[in-house]
Symmetry: D2
Subunit: 308 residues, 4 copies
């Protein structure tokens, strides 16, 4: 254990820092016609730049208040929201171009899904029910003069009732796990992917997000799994092969164990039918899937929560 | 403040009590054909009866272990699950008929919804994604020799972007709320309804649950609301009018406030477009909707969590 | 399964109902001297009475807005908070005496605990850290012209590392549980007790709450447990025997299972030292402990969430 | 937006990855004497190394099962737990020294606090109640042949009822926030610090953790705050100045807004006494406090969740 160090001077200094307003709960109704549209986002705005005086002396001359950041989120929504990635890009440009001391930042959104309530078989004009298979996420990171856009998803819980094996692993003194050639594979997918395009404004983020998500789900369904790691890698690989716009992808998957219940004491067999869904502990598989020759920008991925 | 009392003797005695195993996470795969089916339930079993000796003397001679109750849930699933209400009825009969000291109990289930992952436009045989607009709930209560069956739903978040007013309320010293003739109405519906049929085995609980739920959603969508109370009552009324099988219904709805954001300081108007979705505090509207002449059984509704 | 019924008329009517503002997050600083005091409460106010016209016709003439209820909570805090029970009594009187249509209601509070941050060994004047072993709860219920006051606690997690047995229970086809004469007993206590005094204003609720809580904790520690039911009953009994002011007590205790880990496969014994703390399922023990001859008022206990 | 790139080959490859068992709920009782001790930890073990074949081919020959990792956590607890940092170091050495393919990993623990239940004024031998002002955290990261040890805390909620100002910030079109020279400052501290010592086994982690935590709390209490950023920096600075063993510290603090309630509509003043504690949105202040000349190792801080 040793420091990656120069010569310590004894001075205590400010290192990396950011600040902002987290989890602004923004709902935007588009009501130009009787058929309303709803945008439901949780938006976080975080600024980076020269804020040393605030930390060391309580000098707020450069500190754009977090309250102002929230107000800006609301005011910008007046013009419409659009794709979350586009909305975050607008915020990013506003803050980095409008304030000299703001050199970068991190803007993140979760988009909550709604569908129209069906009435007599037809979707209602202005009544909605929360739904969906996942939460869509987006992030814009500005660092060192570069703007990075990421799409993602979370809380996407999937399960395969067969087509999953796990065997051939090493056994040591502490190994008791039985090998299996048929188990339930269940997880809750969290994924982030970076759009590598030179011009983010040229991308149709809504269409891309839907297509990437569908690819991940289809791959999960179709891969005959020998390990959750394999499934995870194949999901990422399928995305990178299908979408030139995606530079790399990181994926984090808890292995939500479904243990076969031993029914023998009750005089019953259990041919893969009755399972106990455990809460904790759980396996946790995390991987980055990349394009050979493309180095993922470290600053970007350090800003992605909960990953390797 | 006074006691509803007879003559206190000074003796401390056991009153109402129940015990059991809560939140058994049961997943049951039906795999008779390559097209698998999934039942994903959280099941709670609670027994009532003569358990005084256990409480007063630690005498467990009559105490069916909660572990045994869990085992029974698992073992019964070997034969299939079916409608949650039917599964709970099987459990209720097993425990009340099989153990002399068990005179009643409370069995509850939440059913978690899955849909098949679409692959090339077709639903996959054995790959699923968690989805749905709500969690289906069910309860069977046996008390005083009667068996009661309830259906329900929770976590059903709905929103109307117009068609909701609130005005005409009394104003006192502490009233600052402005009247409005157009607001967002949003809530998360929790409802329980009691099936009043003489023979529960004659009911198609799956079909009834789907139809009741659809009625609640449609009514929420269609009622022009002058108060959340009105919407809540109309939802219950619509169910009772449409379904003879339903004896009464209780519904609990937080008013998930969406406050219009004042954009005037930024030189912008806000014609019902930008809202802040607040977390707490929230309005809370709870009501029982009943059939005149039918007294809801108090023991049943005392067993429903979180209601009036 | 049959209705407790008169003659159904086919009319759908409003049954029991209440409405109000839930979870007002109130923080009140008393700063008369440099040594500040903090009251941190989550307050819920729910009104009962004649609100039929609102439900059936959207007529809000009698509907004291939930926003007004929140404002009243805040305004009343200006005069100080005091014991949560006393604060709720003030609210209850205000609403039931001030509005003809309000015949009763339910007011509930959670009190969050803080302690002073120690600086150089001395408690700081105005800096606090959230702490404590439980959340204190309180409830006032006005129904049928009577005012009932309850105290309670929740999220009080306790554990005994020995002094707990469980054996002598019946065994059936589904029983696999081994008997044990030494196990970990762990639970999270939720308790509510009703103060039976004729004049609630004569009670020192702060002192009583502290003493009742201490009695519950001491009893949990001291009872050699043959079943969690026994521990639960003894806790209630100790309170009723020690405090004439308490009419009855209800207690709900999940059995937070700590399973001894089988270390034999690793060549190790495990003499009650290594445990796995499970999340779900869990046992759930609920009981009312009462005074012989005193009938607990049903309306009160129906208003207590999550109990038998 | 551009890639940090070499020459893309079109090959999709595995990047950074780790896997393991998360949130093992370990409770360890030391019962050598009648005065028991309790260690209550949530432990996560994640391995890094050469696991490419598993991801690309489902070849598990090198994949130490997550189940084995959990078993190892339990088995190691048989010998006692000690300081969480020391326990994690044992795990780290076991896995990196025992398996050729394991080159590194990340081990994390949360330690849950218990205190003895007082009975007749004396602490009980074997009855405990969950308590404490925070959750202690620990992490060991092995990467590139180096072993790093971090201590931390989370869920430490603190509040100052005065001694906090916020003014002098820039105002733009979107700024509505009023300046204040007296506000409530409240936050929930999450902090991580890296121990920079050459030999971690020489450190008394329990004593250090208690002392660092006390320093953070004392500094929070004593700094007259002109911005939460200033408080955050001073907390870190105080730790680095007091403890040579700490190389750097990162701290993340939500600004838990307490808004003064406007009581004027009710004819009341509000001299800093009645506040509404808001949930969302909240400010979020994150900073690294460092020693000049010491570069924090990027791989370590990338493994810390939820930070800049």
């Amino acid at each position: 254990m040793s420091d990656t160090s120069g010569t310590p001077t004894g001075r205590v200094v400010l290192g990396a820092n950011q600040y902002g307003k987290a989890e602004c709960r923004l709902v935007r109704i588009t009501r130009d016609t009787p058929v309303h549209e709803i945008d439901d986002l949780t938006v976080t705005s975080q600024l980076r730049g020269d804020f040393t005086a605030c930390h060391t002396d309580g000098d707020n001359a450069g500190v754009v208040p977090t309250d102002t950041q929230k107000n800006t989120v609301n005011a910008f929504a007046r013009d419409g929201v659009g794709a979350p990635e586009d909305f975050l890009l607008r915020l990013a440009r506003h803050f980095t171009e409008g304030f000299e001391q703001v050199s970068g930042g991190r803007w993140e959104a979760q988009r909550h899904a709604w569908q129209r309530i069906p009435v007599d078989g037809a979707p209602h004009d202005h009544a909605f029910v929360r739904s969906g298979t996942h939460t869509r996420t987006a992030m814009v990171l500005v660092e060192d003069g570069e703007t990075h856009v990421l799409g993602g998803l979370r809380d996407c819980t999937v399960l395969k009732s067969t087509g999953s094996e796990f065997h051939g692993f090493p056994r040591d003194r502490y190994t008791t796990l039985a090998e299996t050639d048929d188990r339930i594979l269940a997880t809750s997918i969290t994924a982030w992917w970076r759009y590598g395009a030179a011009d983010p404004d040229a991308l149709d983020f809504d269409a891309l997000h839907a297509a990437v998500t569908a690819t991940i789900l289809e791959t999960f369904a179709q891969v005959h799994s020998l390990a959750l790691q394999q499934t995870v890698f194949e999901c990422g690989k399928a995305v990178l092969e299908a979408f030139d716009e995606v530079a790399e992808l990181r994926i984090s998957c808890p292995n939500k164990h479904h243990f076969s219940v031993d029914l023998e004491p009750f005089g019953l067999d259990n041919p893969g039918e009755v399972f106990y869904a455990a809460d904790r502990p759980y396996g946790l598989i995390e991987a980055s899937v990349e394009r050979e020759g493309v180095t993922p920008p470290a600053a970007v991925w350090a800003a992605v929560p909960g990953f390797v």
